[in-house]
Symmetry: C2
Subunit: 337 residues, 2 copies
DNA sequence: TACCTATATGACAACGATTACCTCCCTATG
DNA sequence: CATAGGGAGGTAATCGTTGTCATATAGGTA
């Protein structure tokens, strides 16, 4: 009900000018200690609070960062968001989030909206949008998880290709040659890179790839679930499966358990809840979204503080976490193809 | 690089006044069709975009809503956030999120910060903070999942007590009398209500509660995990467990699998990823965060459009999803206590 | 013709903070 | 003693938009 206190109210109450109060507020040195304390006391007494909107208008930047992810509800991105928010919050910076749902239009709209809002910076998980328009803007932006198209920007990501090679080699080391790859559409960069890693590891081991084992259109758990059964129905089914995305893994695992085929070796690129409690527990690559998120917000804050952009890719290291499902040996007696 | 286009730029380009352009922008009727189209064309030609900050300053509200949850990374809240963002986005409204990490101070800070930012509305999962300060504010607020302390507000939640009764009765119906209750601290309202439901169902069935079976300080998966083993070490261990929170369930399930005691009946109030793929799959109550989120944002938008607050609680209905773990019968031959 | 009304438009203030620029006044130095 | 220098503080413009009020023009009525 009570009107908010403004600078001018504090000024009048202390017999000073609006500018002096503003100086105190911003820690400007040209204020005598006496006035400073007097003003400060009055400010707390009256319960003064800066009007961030007015300040934003004047200074040209809103003390908020924009965060664009494909899907907030996805545990991977949820943790990333949490990490970013946590650190931003510590600095009194708000976080506006946006889900693209993997749709190009929404991605563009969100970024445009943020620009319009004069956010102080952005962290973006880019899909296919054309980011060339950010070139002629001084807005600090950090890309996460994949590089943007058409722009050289600062990117923080995991080495998807190398990770996929690690995983594939792990399965090969356990005697598998009939390895299935299940991933999302190849137009999604991450998916493509992981597929590339898979192929390169197979090639390096001189194992021919069976096209029947390659699935590149399992977008989510529901679509992935039937895939497993189809693979098992093949005349010559695979003995190991490499899943390139957590949601796909969830669907596959569900299917494996439903039809009782947990004897198949299974490697998931991403971790997911309960992956360690299943029987067998699921072997994964350790690339926590939290690490990505923390690195991204850290760099963004540095940039916002005036740091120079560090154009190029920063790779977060990857490590295999063996839990059982990935260490299932290939059935012996089967000849190498 | 190029300066943003302002109203005055459009005005000059069309030989009109800033006010006329503003009128066109806001669809004010008192503008001739001729001028209107002329201005509109010029606006798109110059690529005019409203400065939302300036507008916020003038109108007093920022076209953004504040969303406060305990933990964004928690899958439950992540889905809630996603649902809210989705609907808000459809209306061109941004969502600023904040995680309290179950800490009182942060909760208060976040809400204060949002108020300061003049957000158009808030959706809050309240913990113990004193919300009486929002009384004398006209800001639309919708509380989710639990009611705020010290204020009568609009609350959207599930009937925790009734849900716990349903769950407890379910276990009782399967022959259990030695039922353990594992929950979070009782000062968290939801926890208390669920515990109340448990007690009332036990009382209604005339089953005495064994204090050794009651754990009210398992805050997260890590703390919960050892609890299960301790329960099993009792001289007279429980035959069924009711978990009042998803993260606790995750810890307990992990322990059950680790020491191979999946013969114990298990009921989780909340759902969690993979709960349906474990063996046995975990019986839960169906109360999707998405339903909560959708209802909350829907109401908030109505309020923002001028709708009257609907003070009181709106309950989302609950339903048991039987998956196996909750239907394990009590070992026969054991005498009722 | 004088008067009134409705419509289209413009001039100007206001929102609350920041900031460029100006004015005191006190001290120090030649 | 005059003046330069610097600290402390004030005045007013500004950010881009919206709201209030005034104005001009056209058409209708007495």
């Amino acid at each position: 009900m009570s009107k908010p206190v403004r600078l001018i109210d504090v000024a009048q109450a202390t017999n000073t000018s609006i500018k002096t109060v503003s100086r105190v507020l911003n820690g400007h040195p040209r204020v005598s200690d006496e006035t400073r304390t007097r003003v400060q006391e009055k400010m707390t007494e009256l319960g003064y609070q800066v009007d961030v909107v007015a300040r934003s208008l004047r200074t040209g930047v809103d003390n908020v960062i924009g965060l664009v992810v494909p899907k907030i509800g996805d545990p991977f991105f949820a943790e990333l968001v949490e990490e970013v928010e946590e650190e931003a919050n510590r600095r009194g910076i708000g976080v506006i989030v946006g889900s693209t749902h993997w749709e190009l239009d929404r991605e563009v709209d969100l970024v445009q909206g943020f620009k319009q809002r004069r956010v102080a910076g952005m962290i973006i998980t880019p899909q296919d949008a054309d980011y060339s328009f950010v070139k002629d803007s001084s807005m600090p932006i950090v890309f996460v998880d994949r590089a943007p198209r058409n722009v050289k920007g600062e990117v923080i990501r995991v080495d998807d290709k190398k990770g996929a090679e690690l995983a594939t080699n792990h399965l090969i080391k356990h005697g598998h040659t009939k390895i299935a790859f299940i991933g999302d559409k190849l137009r999604i960069k991450t998916s493509k890179l992981r597929f590339d890693g898979f192929k390169s590891a197979m090639a390096a081991a001189k194992i021919a790839i069976n096209d029947d084992y390659i699935i590149n259109n399992a977008e989510n758990a529901e679509l992935a679930e039937p895939v497993f059964e189809e693979l098992m129905k093949l005349d010559n089914p695979p003995t190991a499966i490499f899943c390139a995305k957590s949601e796909i893994s969830i669907g596959i695992v569900r299917a494996m358990h439903r039809i009782n085929r947990t004897d198949i070796a299974f490697f998931s690129f991403d971790d997911f809840t309960m992956a360690d409690s299943l029987q067998p527990a699921v072997t994964i690559l350790d690339h926590s979204p939290r690490v990505l998120g923390r690195a991204a917000i850290k760099r963004l804050l540095e940039r916002m503080d005036g740091g120079a952009p560090r154009v190029g890719e920063t790779n977060i290291p990857l490590k295999i976490i063996e839990r059982g499902s990935g260490e299932i040996k290939a059935p012996s007696g089967k000849a190498r193809k």
